[in-house]
Symmetry: C2
Subunit: 204 residues, 2 copies
DNA sequence: TCGATGATCTAGCAATGCTAGAAAATCTAG
DNA sequence: CTAGATTTTCTAGCATTGCTAGATCATCGA
């Protein structure tokens, strides 16, 4: 048989990665509706059935895999914020990092939260990377000077709030140019008015 | 020619309504991916091209029309809440009404906020019904005992928060059964802890 | 060199949104 | 009541989609 050993395994793994990279690039550049199995096959210079060798569940499984890379990146972005600064500063950093990610990788974010995907959520089988993003929110909340009684519930609400802003923004539903105002309003709501100098939010 | 006059006009209008009803029913029962032009044509007992007579932009325009009926219903639901009660009570009524609508008509809500749709948002041409829902949020906020400085921005954030909860809930991302806790947490956040007796949220 | 095993491709299916052109129905004129 | 014009509707088809069965090609061990 072909080198069933390390070399072949590495080739397969690389080809899998190329499929995911092609899918994500295509999606970010032209939207998910442009991510067809034929175009993906073209991109990796193989025929369509090869895709199904890597992802037996087909296109949906590819979207899922892209979503998981997104969850990983989001977890890293939210997990590396440090715990210096005031309540409001840490909260602002969290919100900004989240919205930044959603804004920089809109199609990936769609895969994570909008598109149908083969991941069990809110379950014992939920992948660790998915949980880690949520944990970053929880931990920021529990570090507040006066943390909410029920941190878990508060984290769900805060997550909902940032996700809502991201989703509405992405769908073009919010007034353009008010992003910073919204962030400050949310931060004040969650972290309280005091505890930090005004950030002088003036960035575009 | 055919009765170009009132009768014919009424027939056309009725057929248009039947298309929309069929689309909405199908979507609520089997999801939007089941809403195909062939199935719609079957449902109204005409052939596919008839659909394009009513909706020249095709399927997307049908989804758009369903979304607009949804915005209308949402505006009615949020606009008929009355201004009795404490800050927290009014805010709770608003949030509940919004999440209720989203929960009762998930596919319609998808059309309004998830699917691509031919409506100009955040623009001068935004349909009135779309604006009215937002206005209900704004008005509830401005009636608070101590309203936020920037009601418009606060309304965007609150809208984001409820939409986020609705979206995450719909996508199965939130712990089941905690809905009431989340609502109370959000209400407390926006309307302040005081001003109302605890509602004893114990409903399923 | 040959047969077996694995990898890959070709070609096709059923379903989708949409549309051109034929057919049918309806109205107006005589 | 009939004939022509007009409007309405349908049939049939295109290109695209996700996916897959079966043929073809490459690689390996003996």
């Amino acid at each position: 048989m072909a080198p069933s050993s390390p070399r072949r395994a590495r080739q397969l793994s690389e080809r899998r990665d190329r499929i995911l990279a092609a899918a994500r690039d295509l999606a970010e550049e032209q939207g998910w509706e442009a991510v067809t199995t034929r175009r993906l096959a073209d991109a990796i210079e193989y025929s369509q059935p090869v895709l199904y060798g890597h992802f037996p569940q087909g296109r949906t499984e590819i979207v899922t895999a892209v979503a998981l890379t997104g969850f990983e990146e989001l977890a890293v972005a939210l997990g590396s914020l440090g715990d210096a600064g005031s309540d409001a500063e840490r909260m602002r950093a969290l919100v900004r990092a989240y919205l930044d990610f959603a804004g920089r990788h809109p199609a990936t974010y769609d895969a994570m939260f909008l598109l149908p995907v083969l991941v069990p959520f809110a379950s014992d089988d939920t992948p660790a990377v998915v949980r880690q993003g949520f944990d970053a929110i929880t931990s920021t909340l529990s570090r507040l000077e006066s943390p909410p009684d029920d941190v878990g519930t508060a984290a769900e609400v805060l997550w909902g709030a940032v996700h809502g802003l991201a989703a509405l923004h992405r769908a073009g539903r919010l007034a353009a140019g008010n992003e910073d105002l919204r962030i400050e309003a949310l931060v004040r709501l969650v972290a309280g008015g005091a505890g930090s100098r005004d950030p002088g939010a003036s960035a575009g």
